[in-house]
């Protein structure tokens, strides 16, 4: 496995979505390659940062309008 092979599989690797033999090949490469080791760590951290973040506020007026529209729609359908 070379650097290109690791880059192609980094996403599946951090998701645990690869065959054991492929994982072993990647990990053999990572032992020798500092760049790919950092790439894997940083890609994993990138996913975790977004997964744990809440980048969107939910304003009260947006909520109020949603409920007004839904009430109207429900009344209309009944």
């Amino acid at each position: 496995m070379n650097c290109n092979g690791v880059v192609r599989r980094v996403s599946s690797y951090i998701d645990g979505d690869l065959e054991v033999s492929v994982v072993e090949e990647i990990e053999l490469h990572l032992k020798e390659c500092r760049e790919c080791t950092i790439l894997v760590q940083q890609t994993r951290l990138t996913v975790n940062l977004y997964r744990d973040s809440d980048l969107v506020d939910f304003p009260g007026e947006v909520r109020t309008r949603l409920h007004q529209i839904l009430r109207r729609e429900i009344r209309r359908e009944k």
Binding site: V7, S11, R34, T43, R51
Partner: protein, 231 residues
Amino acid sequence: MYCATLDMHSIEPGLLANLVKTPTLSTPNPHRLPSNVAREDEHLLVAAAKAGDVSAFEELVNRYERKIFRLTMNITRNREDAEDAMQDAFMKAYSHLDRFQEESRFYTWLVRIAANEALMRLRKRRPNQVSLDEPIESEDDFIPQQIEDWGPSPEQRYAQTEMRDILRSVIDELTPDFRAVFVLRDVEGLSTEETAEAVGISEAAVKSRLLRARLKLRQKLDRHFRQDRKQ
């Protein structure tokens, strides 16, 4: 679980929703669930809503409105479109509730509707920027060269608001098709199969876009997080 033995049709409308109630319509919902968690009582609320219990449907709205707005906002990056997409998604969910087969979670079904609504608006607004079948670029650009450690964890080096600004500005730079897949898989916690269904592409295309979205985001975050950028 005791509820499993209840005959849904014998329950007085509103009673079930009261039993499993979280905040009412008039108060903001302070509870935020992890993206990939649907509460165990969801199917009871859905059954009650299908049987005509409006308050059960309202409870489902209370539960998921924040998450659905976050999803439509993350896909469209436009508040007006995000709000319209969210409203239409809930209205469609209500009027098509009888078609929901309960083979998947209600939340996943709702996410699919909302993602479609958001993507539709995005295509209308920026028809040339959203091609979900565009050719896949090479990975060569992502082969690590002169890669640098980010040093001690960036979460500890940046204040929460500063981190939010960085993450927001970086995800805004992704093209909508990459962003949609990344948001559904990594922020909302949908499976590859569910994401493929929501976006209308193959599972292979989801995996491929997810790989590139993650690599692009890492590359863009690198500009901010290299240790020498902030001591």
